[in-house]
Amino acid sequence: MMITVTVNGERHSHDVEPRLLLVHFLRDVVGLTGTHWGCDTSNCGACVVWLDDTPVKSCTALAVMADGRTVRTVEGLERDGELDPVQRGFMECHGLQCGFCTPGMMMTSRWLLDRNPDPSEEEIREALSGQLCRCTGYENIVRSVRWAAENPADDSTEASQEVSPS
């Protein structure tokens, strides 16, 4: 069936099978491979994207459910060439190793910070508890989110500076 989904501000119209998973629509049809697939059972959260303003696990949502709605993926975190503080936080605090869970972690983190700009460590752990990471032991992910909370985008000139690895 024909669906139109606005992904990161761009409209995409495609004829898709009704059973097509949203994660496969994004990866295979739209070609945005930043969203990863990890488990099929809604346990791992590697596939988290925003459907309208809510994080969903795109491996257990159908593409047709997104018809006429907006989706935001990791590729849509950066705005006008400027990294989201969450992205910067993950680099600053070594919040990623293999990078596979990272997009989902960052999407949920951004959602959390939009609703709770100053979350405690416990609140961050609770918010991310539906997502798995096998590399970091979560420590630096929590710190990354805290870094983002302490360095919001609209705060200072510092936030507009591009992060460089060195």
Partner: protein, 795 residues
Amino acid sequence: MTTIEERPAGDGAHGFGRIHRKEDPRFIRGQGNFVDDVQLPGMLHGAILRSPFAHARIVSIDTSAAEAHPRVRAVITGATLETLSLAWMPTLSNDVQAVLATDKVRYQGQEVAFVVADDRYAARDALELIDVDYEPLDPVVDARTAMDEGAPVVRDDIEGKTDNHIFDWEAGDRAATDAVFTEADVVVTEDMLYPRVHPAPMETCGTVASMDKVTGKLTVWSTTQAPHAHRTLYALVAGLPEHQIRIISPDIGGGFGNKVGIYPGYVLAVVGSIVTGKPVKWVEDRSENLMSTSFARDYHMRGEIAATRDGKILGVRVRVLADHGAFNGTAQPTKFPAGFFHVFTGSYDLQAAHCEVTGVYTNKAPGGVAYACSFRITEAVYLIERMVDVLAYELEMDQAELRMKNLLRPEQFPYTCATGWEYDSGDYPATLSLAMDMAGYQELREEQRAKRERGELMGIGISFFTEAVGAGPRKHMDILGLGMADGAELRIHPTGKAVLRLSVQTQGQGHETTFAQIVAQELGIPTADVEVVHGDTDQTPFGLGTYGSRSTPVSGAAAAMVTRKVRDRAKIVAAAMLEVDPSDLEWGHGTWGVRGDPKNAKTIAEIAMAAHSNLELPEGVEGHLDATCVYNPPNLTFPFGAYICVVDVDPATGEVDVRRFIAVDDCGVRINPMIVEGQVHGGLAEGIGMALMQGIAFDEDGNCLGASFMDYLVPTALECPSWELGETVTPSPHHPFGAKGIGESATVGSPAAVVNAVMDALKPLGVRHADMPLTPAQVWRAAQGRPLRTDLAIS
């Protein structure tokens, strides 16, 4: 959150020190390139039909309906593969494994047929159309009865095979150990299981294979930790010319040993591409990953420890029954069928030790050596650290005091242990003391005393581990005949920028950063000026890959040595530039200058340009600065550490709360402390997972009971405390820059600390041991004096 003692170190921009990772900018933008991200023109998709039975004879396979599916391009069965002599492939332990089952299936989830279709959904649809007639057979599920008279024979494909025996192996001195035990005041025995677990990286395994029929070149994008070894194995298995095979290991979403071996799915993608003439992608789903790819552990151990009444440990004796599943596919150096398990003497000064290991076949998925185990050192550390606690229980001694009394002393290094390993360096008491200080050990014991009086269950667990990593010396260590030395190539461009080519492959360890730092440290150029190329056999020199914490000890050493070669070449060129004899030059971190005349010096960039110019060089000097090397390590390296875990156990529910975890690691010199700490954090979470949650059991029919993340629970952010890290630094004396490796230390060392803590909490209830995973049910049962066997779920 974390206590780190800052050591004087560089900023990382010109060598060792903390620096952000070069890898991160692509990952945080969703621009990584994992195997499933690879899209090729005309690419088809493969899916595998798997056995629902643990043990069954295949009577017939009817693929006609699947072949008639309009979007199916090929259906491949074992019979198809037999015509290509590809139905069986060698394992990493010189056994064979079915690529697709021909005679019978030997574990639930075994590969039976392969469908290639236009898209992944059609491929899955077609699996439903294949009709397999199975004749179920009695399975061998319990390893402890695998050798019983009359047990079903798993491997009747092996000519003359009438039982399920794989190997017997021993290490140490049996007679000397028996003598020590005979004379000891105290001998304590404990049976313990290190249950079957699975590494479960976030990215499952997969392959995209593309055979170019015109050139004959096969390109394989694959989730592999060992691209070069895989290339050689593909050449040997398929009879393809090795120079026509290119293995690309792109970004890898975690490995932990899961991506060392070659799985049937990889071979099938290759066959699918050869048969269809199109690129074929195969990516397994999570259940396939958990049910059919390398599991880890599954060691049934009987440990015995002998000591004097005042707590001097004299000897250790171990008997192991090793469940290797249906095919012996363990990945370890050939001479060591039990991996490096015989480093089970641990961190203690023992008079004698002996172990016997028997490997058996069962109707379970193959594997055994995987999951950050450093070739079975996880099992060894768990064994010795549990035995020390069991001894402390019997002697009514404090666990820290007992360890302190028996730890090797700094002056004993290099130390040859009772089973033959030569430990390179260490100051164990200092490391344990630091961990105890950080934990506030005495205060914790006082708190525990008060809580026990109130009937509360609080436990403090210690694990002191010694690792043996960096395999390894070629003389002793090979995998399928491939010696475990690693190559490295360093190219210096005329402007002084560098490209380092490595055989090892990162799966999140940050090699693109740390190896650039090694070159920067050795050559005095900015870290940013070094590009690391890896994960592509056409672009990099041969080496055995990333596992067993070997990248820094072996390839890190290769990187340092090749950089030193470049430095030596640069010296000759600099001498020609400065018109002095090379012996008059001295190195100044990035410059060669005339001794005593510091202004008269040339930078590496200046020297590099000159090396490519028409500058006249001495007779026999070729010009350019590029160099290659192969590093053959003289010995393993021996990282170690002291871990302390503090838990509270709910007596009503058996739920364990890990309140604190203190980890002091000594991995020698740290290249990038930020990355080292990240490696430790991750390993500690894995340790909590193994100790408390993860475990794959089987029912009486051989059904795998850990086949999804609904059943196989791995830790989330809620189960993990905020880790408290510390460090000591004892450089390895034989590594070029004193590093020892860190990748697996925490996974190896931490499970014992968690289990020891839970057992310590249950001590007032008279509990001495219960097997992992210490789920609430298992803890509750243990508290009732009825701990479960965690490998079986027999109704």
